[in-house]
Amino acid sequence: MPKWGLAMKEGSVTSWLKNEGEEIKKGEVIVEIETEKVVNEFESPHDGILLRKILNENEKVSVGSLIGVLGEQNISSEEINKFVEDFQSNFVPLETAKEEIDLEKTILINNHSINYLNISDDKDENIIFIHGFGGDLNNWMFNQEELSNYYNTYALDLPGHGKSSKNIDFGNLNFLTDIIAKFCIEKKLKKVNIVGHSLGGGIGINLANENKDLVKSLILISPIGLGEEIDSYIKNFIEADSRKELKPELEKLYYDSTLITRDLVNEVLKFKRLDGVSESLNKIMKECIYENNKQKNNLIKILNNLKNKVDIIWGDEDKIIPSKHIKNLTSNVNCHILNNSGHMSHVEKSKEVNNIIKNSIN
């Protein structure tokens, strides 16, 4: 059972996609796994034969538990049995989830309490992850931990989101950008690489433009500001006040809508029901994203003139902001269109996105 994100303590199999005895290639999806927060596909770490499925569907086990056995062709039943027995008798469930959650800290910037998660501080380069509208730092659960093996990573909750202050003074792009800039000053980060999603992408572009010395590489996932079209998702997200209204909107975010579990919808509803959230989200929407049903910001020229290394990632099935916005960009921007991916490529195609990030920074 893999560990996705720091809070994950246990998970279950929703369905096996391969049978016992089937040949598997490294990277192929073999099983779908559900956790408290999300449903996602588990890719095989190696080539081999799926010798045995250990975990049945819908049984919850702790992170690190044995869920299946992969091996070479001619391994006997007895050998597999022995391996499983040895594993189970030596297995101790991980109990580190509690301490790791305490890694999240808050910092006061422009009178707003900003919640952030920092993993690693001994690497040469820094990454700042900026989530999108209505999201929070947990959106990066398939990216941050993995990339912390190579870089110092900081994921923030924007004002009005996650665990940061819910009442915000302003909702415009400059205000949000300034929060990030001041964060870098407070944490003494002289040079950062920005990974920004959607609204976070727009903030990243603005930040690179306003702070030429601060930003090194820009990696933008489905960013705002590069075209007029944007789905009514943002307006509907704010207005939805029930599971029934919210679920179809959240499903728009993904190519694979089965990733939206009932628990996930409930978690988003709980966030929206906190005092101050509706007002803040409305402020950001009006000041930063929409005007007369069209995108408010035009960052095309700014992006085309940036001297930074820029990589843009777009899911070809993005229902929120269409991937065709890439056409407005000049050739100094590296464009990556991902197949079978929606607005949340960093979740749906995390391996590819992580590789693009590494290539961009190195």
């Binding site: 819908n58 819910k166 599971r243 029934k244 009932r262 709980k270 029901r273 906190l274 005092d275 101050g276």
Partner: protein, 334 residues
């Protein structure tokens, strides 16, 4: 967000909302305790300590101890609500509703209607219900069906700390009389509760489990019983949906019918007396609007039609239990 008890969640709801809105007052027997004579101020904070630390912060003009007169407590609150305050009135045990019922069902519930909408009665009555603590017949009842019966009253019944805080804040902010029911055995239950103010809309039930074989519907403390049963039934390869009603009035009919449609087999668990209770009310709804989904008769797990026993052995036999719920489930499984 942090782990809080049901009691702490309620205390936070009251304290934070009283800070935000100066019109909110709290009135009841020993909601502070200790006033007068040489007694400690804030000696009690209510019989279960829910309202501790409020009197020192908000003063005795907003935290009001009363004589033992339920009709005075509720009547005062109703009048105060009419004239612009948002009172929280403590009807300590729901069993005492008889003493003040006219104030509740003929006065507070009907002011807005009978004054042609020109009056509003934004009051919240919080009250303890439920058995299991050997408090005997007059201190263990679950009389919420009587409130649900009355048009003009909203009836709220949380099963966990998160719902308790959100629903209580919603109750205070609602401009109508709300009866907020707290099971006396839930106060030490722990759950994740946001530190900020938040609300939960009325009329929205919550799915705590999802399955395809059996639907369990309940309210308040018995929801937790249903959750445990659902988890145990997995070992028998039976998957259960559990629906926590959260508010009895307004009732989330849509979710009830959706839950029934998903399985076709329903067990309703209700700790109140069996005649004319919530289980019978929902059964009628399901038979009327969800008949084509049903694959078996609707089963109800309720106490028998007797007062709540004082004898521990009898009380344990009396209350809904995991065994009784499983028996009901087995009786309608294929």
């Amino acid at each position: 967000m942090s782990k809080k008890t049901f009691r702490e969640a309620l205390n936070e709801a009251i304290a934070q909302e009283m800070r935000r809105d100066e019109n909110v007052i709290l009135i009841g027997e020993d909601v502070a305790g200790g006033a007068g004579g040489k007694g400690d101020q804030d000696a009690w904070g209510g019989p279960m300590g829910v309202t501790k630390n409020l009197a020192p912060e908000f003063g005795r003009e907003r935290i009001i101890d009363t004589p033992i007169s339920e009709s005075a407590i509720i009547g005062t609150a109703a009048g105060a609500a009419l004239t612009g305050l948002r009172p929280i009135a403590d009807l300590m045990f729901v069993d005492f509703l008889g003493v003040c019922f006219d104030q509740i069902f003929n006065q507070a519930a009907k002011f807005r209607y009978m004054f042609g909408g020109k009056a509003k009665t934004p009051m919240t009555i919080r009250t303890m219900y439920g058995g299991g603590v050997r408090a005997a017949s007059q201190h263990s009842q679950s009389l919420y069906p009587i409130f649900t019966h009355i048009p003009g009253l909203k009836v709220v019944i949380p099963s966990n700390p998160y719902d308790a805080k959100g629903l209580f804040i919603q109750s205070i902010r609602d401009d109508n009389p709300v009866i907020f029911l707290e099971h006396k055995m839930l106060y030490d239950e722990v759950g994740e509760v946001p530190d900020e103010l938040y609300t939960i809309p009325f009329g929205e039930a919550n799915f705590t489990r999802e399955g395809s074989d059996i639907t369990l519907i309940s309210m308040g403390k018995t929801v937790n019983l249903c959750n445990n049963v659902a988890d145990e039934m997995k070992k028998e390869n039976v998957s259960c949906t559990v629906l926590d009603l959260r508010t009895l009035s307004p009732l989330d009919e849509e979710s009830i019918l959706e839950a029934v449609e998903g399985t076709g087999r329903v067990v309703i668990v209700d700790e109140s007396y069996p005649r004319c209770n919530i289980a019978t009310d929902i059964s009628a709804l399901i038979c009327d609007k969800g008949f084509s989904s049903l694959k078996a008769p609707i089963k109800m797990v309720t106490p028998p039609h007797t007062p709540v026993p004082f004898s521990p052995a009898l009380e344990d036999l009396y209350l809904p239990s995991a065994e009784k719920i499983k028996k009901a489930i087995h009786s309608i499984l294929v």
